[in-house]
């Protein structure tokens, strides 16, 4: 009986000390962590909307969408965060869109776990710069190298066709959802 009490007491004491210590540290760290996250998101939003100065998080089901305003508080478009499957795992992109959703301002890959040196080329500028001023109607498309792209087409990276294709597909997917929202007047 005595040892049992001893056992429980020890565990409780260790647990309490640990809990106290951790709650202290987490009180210090949590705001920092939240800030880091916030900062990252903010950076991305403005990265794809270079003219943007402020933004508003729209409450839309199923998509993470921000309305972006310029210095004079005039809405200049949207920033859409969306994700889907790439070659190895999830790819998460942020797309800046014109207000009528018919044009991409610019595109940024936020997260990906593609093969370094191959699929990771989708984060490099010669690929993602293709998305600047890309027309999104009827939908994006991709072509192989050596083919002249139309105004809604990007050239896939040789050796990483799958990742390139995936980015296009992810954006198309997100656009479909956005258009539905737009029709429902929810934007």
């Amino acid at each position: 009986m005595k040892t049992a009490i001893h056992m429980i007491a020890t565990l409780l004491i260790i647990g309490a000390i640990s809990g106290g210590l951790l709650s202290g540290i987490s009180n210090w760290a949590d705001p920092l962590i939240a800030m880091n996250k916030q900062k990252a998101t903010e950076e991305a939003i403005f990265l794809v909307q270079p003219e943007g100065k402020s933004y508003e998080h729209l409450n839309a089901p199923g998509v993470e969408i921000y309305k972006v305003f310029d210095g004079s508080n005039k809405p200049i478009g949207y920033s859409l965060a969306y994700e889907g499957n790439g070659f190895q795992g999830k790819i998460r992109v942020m797309v800046g869109l014109s207000s009528d959703l018919n044009k991409i301002v610019s595109m940024e890959v936020l997260e990906q776990v593609e093969t370094p040196g191959l699929g990771t080329k989708v984060t490099e500028s010669h690929y993602k710069d293709q998305f600047k001023n890309l027309v999104t109607v009827p939908s994006l498309n991709w072509v192989k190298e050596g083919t002249a792209p139309k105004e809604n087409e990007v050239i896939a990276i040789t050796g990483a066709t799958i990742s390139s294709k995936a980015v296009v597909a992810i954006i198309n997917d997100g656009m479909t959802k956005l258009r539905k929202l737009q029709q429902g007047g929810k934007l």
């Binding site: 020890t10 565990l11 260790i14 540290i25 760290a29 920092l32 040196g117």
Partner: protein, 228 residues
């Protein structure tokens, strides 16, 4: 004087004699997972050393107070506490690094090196020796991770610690930073270090044979050929 020797011994044995990655083959998962770049490898080894040292210290202090039935549970709580501290600090101060190490920081909790040293050493020895032991093992782990990640980064990305070493004409071998490259590089390193150790042992043995049987030359040769 004698005490001095054992204290050094406590530290140094972790570097080679009982090197966690090469001799005990513990902590394999982080060894493989985070060694794609030297930077990650060092960060992981330091985080592990931090947790290892502090928990060894605390556990050694408390070793007489904890009833043996709840020993492991208490150790785990102590270790988990330090791991959480590292995790939170990294997330708050080094968000990039924390992201690239992924879930392997929380997983330090189950890294068998830590529980292994707690059980095998800290629970039986005083705080000073425990800390030295922990630091030694941590250094050994660091050396192993640096060796492994240097090879992988060099061939996989042409660079070491982000500095390009190999010329542009060298096409980076992507496989080296993939899981397959990790397994194979670690396996080869381990194999060669075993072979080396074995040869050393054999040579020492031959030396002994030669010393004690100087007359029977033929006999000593026979032993050698049997070994080989």
């Amino acid at each position: 004087m004698k005490k001095q020797v054992t204290l050094w011994q406590d530290y140094f044995k972790g570097i080679w004699e009982i090197n966690p990655a090469f001799k005990q083959i513990l902590g394999t998962c982080p060894t493989l997972a985070v060694t794609a770049t030297v930077e990650n490898g060092i960060a992981m080894a330091l985080a592990t050393t931090f947790v290892l040292t502090f928990s060894s210290f605390i556990i050694s202090l408390m070793r007489k107070l904890i009833p043996s039935q709840v020993r492991i549970a208490s150790y785990i709580v102590v270790i988990a506490t330090f791991v959480t501290i590292v995790d939170l600090v990294m997330k708050a101060q080094f968000p990039e690094l924390s992201k690239s190490l992924g879930p392997f920081i929380p997983l330090i909790v189950v890294n068998c090196i830590i529980l292994g040293r707690a059980e095998a050493f800290a629970s039986k020895n005083g705080p000073l020796r425990s800390v030295l032991d922990a630091l030694g093992n941590g250094t050994g782990f660091l050396i192993a991770l640096v060796a492994l990640s240097a090879i992988r980064e060099l061939f996989g990305s042409r660079s070491v610690l982000g500095l390009q070493i190999l010329p542009d004409t060298f096409e980076p071998m992507i496989v080296m930073i993939l899981p397959a490259g990790a397994f194979i590089t670690y396996g080869l390193l381990l194999g060669f270090s075993n072979t080396l150790a074995e040869r050393k042992k054999r040579i020492a043995q031959e030396e002994l044979v030669r010393k004690y049987k100087p007359v029977q030359k033929a006999g000593s040769e026979e032993i050698i050929s049997q070994e080989a």
